[in-house]
Point group: none
DNA sequence: CATGAATGAGCTTTCATTCAT
DNA sequence: CATGAATGAAAGCTCATTCAT
């Protein structure tokens, strides 16, 4: 890496805008951003191995060399792509304004948000799949990993507590599990839509199909957190 | 090369054993099988781009050239790997012996099977993710695609019907949706375990964690199919 | 080569038909012929390096191995292709029935034959070009090379002699040179038609263009052999 | 790679020398030129298929990779080789200084030039043969193709006109046909010298043989353009 | 007589990266 | 601050040929 300014990056766009930046600095920032955006697209589309340095630099209308200048290596670039991707997701989650006093609606809103976020950001899914293919080795190299634990879980916790206090939700269910259930249903449906379409013989991406799945997921989650026995009365014993 | 035996494969090992096979023919079958097995491992571990022809031929203790001899191309090999992978999964599903007269237990058994199949065959997951990264283009080239629509759905359909007849399950729930719910929860948990571990700050693969998740999924699915309103009585209106 | 019957070839089709040939022998002959024909096409189209053993065996609907069985090597096959090609050309020339007593018409007939042979057998040209690219190394390995010296030269010699006797042709012109002149004009026009077309900006293969060239060549050859001074009277001195 | 300088080539060496060129820039130009020169030799000797990228890069004392850096592909390199080869031929033709007022001598000079150019530049012939084997597909991809239509034809036109005006040449003969006649005889003799040597049983490249052929060609062309009937008087009717 | 299987060298091309200003 | 040039390893694939019945 030698003298490359790999860590020159400004932590956030806000920080950058509060101080005077020279023209060259802005141009550099633009180049860096272009590469980051291009890399996100390319890695999301072709995976880590399939996303070549050349594809990225071309898509960014820059040069291979610039990637090494700003990010040190292909791996360094991928790590920043992951960080940025998580950061954007968390930013979006943070903007969710939930009416905690209406827990059912709030929970529905969370589900709708998650499902639609995956729908609108399919690159999030492919990037995560790529990273999981590599057993998380890139994200574990990122010093920022833990910063990114989803704010959604904390939100769900508050919603659940509110619902439990109002007697709407049962008490023996954790925010973590509910979050995983929501994420799983939203993620899997989008992540595997191509193979599922082939094997179910139907298109999963029509508006109707998407709406149907969202409704089903909301229903399933609400039933999961609803109070009452897990089986119809008198039948629970049979399953034990 | 010329006149490659790309499609010479015997449909099943049983068919092959009913007629006399020469030594060389057997050796050939072995070479082909070795390559297929090695390719499954390598593709599952490194993805399509990362799984190089050389890695595969070395793992199979054969030669690059043999891959082209038997499969025509890297892509042809990958397609056969996908087909074989699906076939094995379907074979395993087919062996499930469900007590249809006890629908709750039967449904639990299906969930346990699916969850544990994903757990024990992580290569199934990475292969499917790889294929979805490529938008299903390989599987759509396979003439066998539709043969592989999961027998699990049909099983679930029968279990649901039985449960509905016995008044254990509600009637407005489809086998397809229940199947997707089960698959989603089982698949996502394993598929994303590395990134989830990093961000939840906990190990998802301990026996306890796995058991906890299985229990939660069973509970969630059973609640989803259980009869009764989707919200606690008198509260449904509020959510509308 | 070991035990391959490389030299089993029957010298001529006539020899083969005079004795009883078994069914298998005929099948073999067919395979051999198919390969030879396919090889002629493939080598003519793709050159020696570009004409792969696989392309040939595929075109012959046979197997790579058969090429080695019948011809020993790719080079051996190419040599036989060359021999066969020359033999066919000589056969065709031999069938020319010239009226030696009418030397002008006879010479015209020779020219028409040569020009139209090249036109109808473009593979003859590309094969010869390929062989010349290799500096004639294959044909020099053929024991039959000298057998194939063109009968056309001998014919031209007789025609010239007849014409000279009749006072129609001048005496200081050799059959060899006239043959080369005819061959050159016919050959070059066809051989280089693609690059010529590109650079002249016209299509050389229209019937009109072909007829025009034939007429020009006939005229040029007849003027070349016509008696009289090589320059208009009184002007020859100026050129000396 | 990215942003390859495939088309960065300076149009002419003169243009390059008018501005300051850095050391590296010069080195690059050298590398490019070395490759182009080496490729010309290698393609001329082994043909397109036979001229491997490795042979070329080795001959240029460079690396395979550089061929793709500067020319994009093997085909791109071959196209530039063709262009350069044509350009050199046209440059040489342009330097011919003809005494148009002495048409016979001028025509002889043209013939001598063409014949000797082919003799001294055999790679011109093999490259053109290679390109014609490929049916001119590379040259048709070159945007410069039409620029290269031979200046020789224009020269011959002027010579013919002058000769016609002086009554030395007949009027019903076109420059194009004369050019083709000259090119054909010069080209064919060199192009096919190896197979012709084998079949005529004589060496065509001795100084005597070459001189004899040149003389014959000059004689033939002059007779072709000379005024007077195309057949000796009183005999023309017989051939009709 | 015929042929599937095997082989290793070679092909064109792309890879991530470093050099040298 | 930026970039053209260079590099060698490795990619997927094809080559002509031999092995072993």
């Amino acid at each position: 890496m030698s003298a490359t300014p790999t860590k020159t990056r400004t932590a956030s766009p806000r920080a950058a805008s509060t101080r005077k930046t020279g023209v060259r600095e802005q141009a550099a920032q633009t180049t860096r951003d272009n590469i980051l955006k291009a890399a996100t697209k390319v890695f999301a589309r072709y995976g880590y191995e399939g996303g070549s340095v050349e594809k990225i630099s071309k898509a960014a209308k820059s040069f291979d060399r610039m990637i090494y200048y700003y990010f040190g290596s292909k791996e360094g670039l991928f790590i920043e792509v992951l960080e940025e991707t998580y950061r954007r997701m968390n930013d979006a989650e943070s903007k969710l304004d939930l009416a905690t006093d209406k827990p059912i609606e709030a929970l529905q809103a969370v589900i709708r948000f998650v499902v639609s976020y995956y729908r609108k950001n399919p690159e999030f899914i492919t990037l995560l799949n790529t990273e999981n293919l590599h057993k998380g080795k890139h994200i574990s190299k990122s010093m920022r990993a833990r910063e990114y634990s989803s704010p959604a879980i904390e939100m769900i916790r508050r919603v659940l507590e509110s619902g439990q206090a109002q007697g709407l939700f049962r008490k023996d269910v954790s925010a973590r599990d509910v979050y995983l259930l929501i994420a799983a249903t939203g993620y899997f449906y989008m992540s595997n839509r191509h193979t599922l379409s082939a094997f179910l013989g139907e298109d999963l991406e029509t508006p109707d199909a998407l709406a149907h799945w969202e409704t089903f997921v909301i229903d399933s989650v609400l039933r999961t957190v609803a109070p009452g026995p897990h089986l119809p009365k008198g039948k629970a014993a049979a399953a034990a």
